[in-house]
């Protein structure tokens, strides 16, 4: 294995090139993405840590197998998220909603952003807010959950979401609106306070 003193200085596309010449360097890439992707998998599926790790391993095997298919015109993170998303769908399609206990915690800023976008009262206690968001995300349809997770919890922009879900940006925007409306409806059902 050719070791690089500072692999963090390389961008993803450069790292992919290096891996293709010396595949032992694949671990640099794994370490760059494994935590993010594990959280993403758990946010989409509520899978247990062990199950999520198994999915993640399959994801990295697929990434490794398909490294030559990576198109540098696309952001590498979008490409790897797309593979993860597809893997989650194929592996967890038949698994219904799981107990919330497995749900990964939501970052403070992500919770605030989602609350601001959905018009939840700002004074709401952050811990309660995060619990409610987790509960509602767990209850809405998967197609709405995945787009909200990508937008607010993974903090992806429209183009990135479009590349991950392989949908036109316009479709992403309209689906995101529907997802937010669905989220609001569920908030009202849960008697959570809105700014309206």
């Amino acid at each position: 294995m050719t070791h690089y003193n500072n692999p963090d200085s390389l961008n993803d596309a450069e790292l992919v090139k290096i891996i293709l010449t010396d595949q032992e360097n694949f671990l640099y890439l794994v370490n760059r993405y494994k935590d993010k992707l594990l959280n993403y998998i758990r946010r989409l599926t509520n899978a247990s840590l062990e199950e999520a790790e198994d999915t993640l391993q399959e994801v990295f095997i697929k990434v490794y197998l398909n490294l030559n298919d990576f198109n540098p015109d696309l952001k590498f993170s979008s490409w790897i998220y797309r593979i993860t998303h597809n893997q989650v769908i194929s592996r967890h399609r038949k698994i219904k909603a799981r107990p919330e206990g497995y749900m990964v915690d939501i970052e403070d800023q992500a919770a605030r952003n989602l609350a601001a976008d959905i018009d939840i009262v700002a004074a709401t206690d952050l811990t309660i807010l995060k619990q409610k968001i987790t509960t509602i995300l767990n209850q809405i349809a998967p197609k709405y959950r995945e787009i909200l997770v990508l937008k607010f919890l993974e903090e992806k922009n429209y183009q990135e979401i479009s590349d991950i879900l392989k949908k036109p940006a316009g479709t992403v925007a309209s689906q995101l609106n529907k997802a937010k409306q669905e989220f609001k409806r569920e908030l009202v059902k849960q008697k959570f306070i809105l700014n309206i």
Binding site: F26, N31, D35, L38, N39, L67, D108, S162
Partner: protein, 303 residues
């Protein structure tokens, strides 16, 4: 530990080790680049082929529709809708629909195809087929395809060009076939698509020249060495083998169908408007064709 760090799920190095050992044990290696290039080429080639065939379908559709029977709907006692319903080339429309879907599917499966909305990809597929198809039509490709299929394709007269079947209804006053023998008094023998011979009696001075309405008729000009072209007749069936023709017009799309063995006149019994046994027997002179497909016989010297 910060709040942000708490949300992450750190994975122990054991994950890396398991992953690496799996890769090594199963001897997994990245698929070669040509594998993905080939997949992309296949998508583009299938899409391009679908576009080309779709354009061919458009060129035939244009050829059929520019030679449809809407202009003579009053003469055949049909409404605009009836003519359209009975002669619309459904085969080509369905084929075009399928090919547009194949083009759409392949565009969507290119590297960036997903970025374009459904309507724009569909519109682009349809427009590309139409533009290329019209260009092919201008070069006569539609007519050539119709000719090739007319000579060879099974069930051509029912599905590919339903105009032929539409015109094979003597009981409704429509007949199509190839003239075989001409008599001095303008009567002639016509062989229909089932090889049945009809004696055609043109109504006196009613053999109208419809060719003025048909700008695509110049190719109907014949010399005496060429086989006679198939024609369509509008008139009335008066017996099992007799048909009075009030209007005679050339058959354009579908005329190659009568080149098939068993669907046109048998060359061995004389398929052209020249001397034949009957003419000699009846002391009649052979007829010739005048103008753009209009049939006239030479008057007998005895008349």
């Amino acid at each position: 530990m910060s709040e942000e760090k708490k949300t992450m799920t750190p994975i122990a190095d054991i994950f890396d080790q398991k992953l690496l050992s799996k890769i090594k044990e199963e001897r997994i290696s990245p698929k070669p680049r040509w594998h993905f290039l080939l997949k992309n080429y296949v998508i583009w080639i299938i899409g391009s082929l679908a576009l080309l065939i779709g354009a061919g379908a458009v060129s035939v559709l244009t050829y059929l529709m520019t030679n449809n029977d809407l202009g003579i709907r009053h003469e055949i006692n049909k409404t605009w809708g009836e003519v359209l319903l009975l002669t619309l080339p459904y085969f080509w429309l369905i084929l075009l629909g399928l090919l547009v879907f194949v083009i759409y599917y392949n565009i969507k499966h290119t590297k960036r195809g997903y970025r374009y909305p459904l309507w724009s990809v569909l519109l682009a597929s349809i427009l590309a087929s139409i533009i290329l198809g019209e260009a092919l039509f201008l070069f006569g490709v539609g007519e050539k395809i119709d000719g090739i299929l007319g000579r060879r394709a099974p069930l051509y007269e029912f599905f590919i060009n339903p105009q032929l079947d539409f015109w094979s209804r003597p009981e409704e006053g429509r007949l199509v076939g190839v003239p075989l023998q001409f008599f001095g008094d303008e009567r002639f023998i016509l062989v229909d698509r089932d090889q049945k011979e009809w004696e055609i009696i043109p109504a006196s001075s009613t053999v109208e020249r419809f060719l003025e309405k048909r700008p695509f008729a110049p190719e109907m000009m014949l010399d005496e060495n060429e086989p006679l072209p198939p024609i369509r007749l509008i008139g009335k069936q008066i017996s099992e083998q007799e048909f009075t023709a009030e209007i005679i017009i050339p058959l354009l799309p579908g005329r190659a169908f009568f080149d098939r063995p068993g669907h046109g006149p048998n060359p061995s019994n004389g398929s052209r408007c020249l001397e034949n046994k009957n003419n000699k027997k009846n002391n009649e002179r052979p007829c010739v064709l005048e103008g753009e497909g209009t049939m006239r016989s030479h008057p007998s010297p005895n008349n």
